[in-house]
């Protein structure tokens, strides 16, 4: 079904524009917006709105840019609720958990992986996420990584090759051998499907030299870099990310002053993933320190079956406000425009003329309700490239 040629949404109580000409969060009251051919054609005062083929009365409710979830691990099989429940009951974080998912993913059929991935993507869209990144990383063989990246590319242009997620059991004791595979035949098989190369740079995963090699190999194949950095402890992740020109360093829980300086001076995005700290009962990253230093901060879900199985950007925004001391405006900017920056996208994350018509109509009068009413489903309707998503009731 093609989108209507033009749709007017009027009587918008608060239109979050994130106007790129203004620093950070931007919103206007009593506004209207026109969608044409999948794009935002016009925004302005409700009283000056032009006519359109279809009209939607927002009745004073808020309209936001669709969420941009720049960090998600969605190609997997199986689940780990028992591991989660055990961890919450006091058993320590089991680093081997990822390998449980690797085994299940390798054993799954293409169709099973695709069905799970599409179910999660639909769930995300229903919750207002209109752009998302999707990583491989639970295959860890040439064939399994290639199919993971290819499956991700079926549903998002932001497919990420994360062969360097963890060292698989068959390479135990031979990290160098695995890095050679990741930088060689596995990259050859994955690069055609991916936009991004990512690496988990952490004690117990990949060290500075290994991570740098993976990113350099990916870049040589035309992929852009992003890095899992400084999640579980201090380390070289930020430095490695900067050297590779990474768009984003993700997690950023343990940052030295030098790391902070690097993030600010390079302009790389610090992507915070509070769902992971929620799901592992770890301390949250210090968002205020980053923001106060002038860093660009994004929020993402880290949706994955181990450490953070939420797909709710609204939940992450609420955590950011309560537990990371971001303002409601900072959190909503980070979950929309921040995510767009982390993916180097200029067409999403804002609602000004020319943007892709990705938007959320909230059942609430302002963006602040995402944190003010935590856990409550408040997405009335979602448009993605101008199309009304299934289940939306504007």
């Amino acid at each position: 079904m093609p989108p209507d040629r033009s749709t007017l949404i009027t009587q918008i109580g608060e239109l979050v524009t994130n106007d790129p000409d203004q620093p950070g969060f931007a919103a206007v009251a009593d506004a209207a917006l026109v969608i044409e051919d999948g794009t935002v054609a016009w925004t302005g005062p409700a009283g000056q709105a032009p006519a359109a083929d279809t009209a939607v009365d927002a009745g004073g409710r808020a309209v936001l840019p669709g969420f941009v979830d720049s960090h998600a691990h969605l190609v997997f099989a199986g689940e780990r609720s028992a591991e989660f429940a055990a961890r919450m009951a006091g058993r320590p974080y089991a680093a081997g958990g990822i390998l449980t998912t690797v085994a299940a993913t390798r054993a799954a059929s293409d169709d099973a992986l695709r069905a799970n991935l599409r179910r999660l993507a639909a769930e995300m869209l229903a919750q207002g996420t209109t752009t998302f990144e999707c990583k491989s990383g639970y295959g860890l063989t040439v064939a399994d990584e290639a199919r993971a990246v290819a499956l991700a590319a079926e549903i998002t242009p932001e497919a990420t090759y994360l062969g360097a997620h963890v060292v698989p059991p068959e390479f135990a004791g031979d990290v160098a051998g695995y890095v050679d595979l990741v930088c060689g035949p596995m990259l050859d098989a994955c690069a055609p499907h991916a936009r991004w190369v990512d690496v988990f740079c952490e004690d117990g995963a990949f060290g500075a030299d290994e991570a740098a090699a993976v990113l350099a190999a990916g870049r040589a194949r035309g992929l852009s870099a992003r890095v899992h950095a400084n999640q579980l402890g201090p380390g070289p992740g930020i430095r490695v990310a900067a050297a590779a020109g990474a768009a984003s360093a993700d997690h950023c829980t343990f940052l030295t002053g030098a790391d902070l300086d690097t993030i600010v001076s390079t302009g790389m995005v610090a992507t915070l993933l509070p769902g992971a700290e929620f799901g592992t009962r770890q301390p949250y990253p210090d968002a205020r320190r980053l923001l106060d230093a002038g860093a660009t901060v994004a929020l993402a879900t880290d949706c994955n079956p181990g450490s953070s199985f939420t797909s709710s950007m609204a939940f992450c925004a609420a955590l950011a406000v309560r537990d990371m001391r971001m303002t409601t405006q900072e959190a909503v900017w980070a979950a929309t425009a921040g995510g767009a920056r982390a993916l180097r996208r200029t067409d999403v994350g804002h609602l000004t003329a020319g943007a892709r018509a990705d938007l959320i109509l909230l059942d609430a009068p302002s963006h602040a309700y995402l944190a003010y009413r935590p856990g409550v489903p408040q997405v009335a309707a979602v448009w993605q490239a101008g199309r009304l998503a299934a289940g939306s009731v504007p």
Copy 2:
């Protein structure tokens, strides 16, 4: 529309029964359940299920008792999102906030209050809450409290008279005069509509003698007692609740050893409201200390426009697991059977033969997903007294 005479739900991956013959959480795998005339008529192994007029295939998903939200303030007008956003941005908790809602509520028409109340009740039902308590407390005049309790009684048998919520401005400096009103003409007007009498026993609200007087007056009119106790600091709340034979002491954030002993020895329920700590960035109550001492713990939302505007019991259960160190089983029991205990109800909170057919079909294989997938809407269908709620898609 009458409910079907009988409905079979089969292929239930996990049926949370909370069998009252067992201590705490109880569940069975590969189960079925039959609803007849609004009541649970049978539960047992899926392979032994009897026939019914209608059959629902749960396909391995979990079925839980409907949530019992034993603490909610739903009769109000206005909203306080700006106050919330300011508080989160670092301005201290404004005790005067309640009076903002009092002014808006007094100014609202009956129809406006009723519409807001019904909207919230519908929102709660869609999220799986099939029984809820509802307090007055934003009127604080004889007429305004009476209409609030009467409105609450329109939609729940668990209507609570909370004239002693806060001292209204027209009685500033004359707490005794206001308590006389609460115990006299206001009680006369409210008692016919209410089941419960409640008091906010806290420094800055009502002291021990005043709270005891309010509860005694209510009990003399046939109301049963419940108490807001020890939320903001240590105090006499638990002692007062025990003396009044209260069903529940709510909040319980600051408890002495003697308070804990009193809770355990009287068997009163300790109702924890983590949404309030989330919304005010206060420390969470020590659920483990209560549970380990043998106390009966309930979880409720405290849904209100100031300190805790969530209506999501699933969100509260997730907070209870992550931030109060309850197990997933303890949290789900507390959000269902615990709430029933706090309301002295034996017909809800469990799914064994004879219970009211209040149940939730989750889009997930186990109860643990409420915390494992925080913020994600996972309620596929809700039955209340055997009726499928609007919007349910079993």
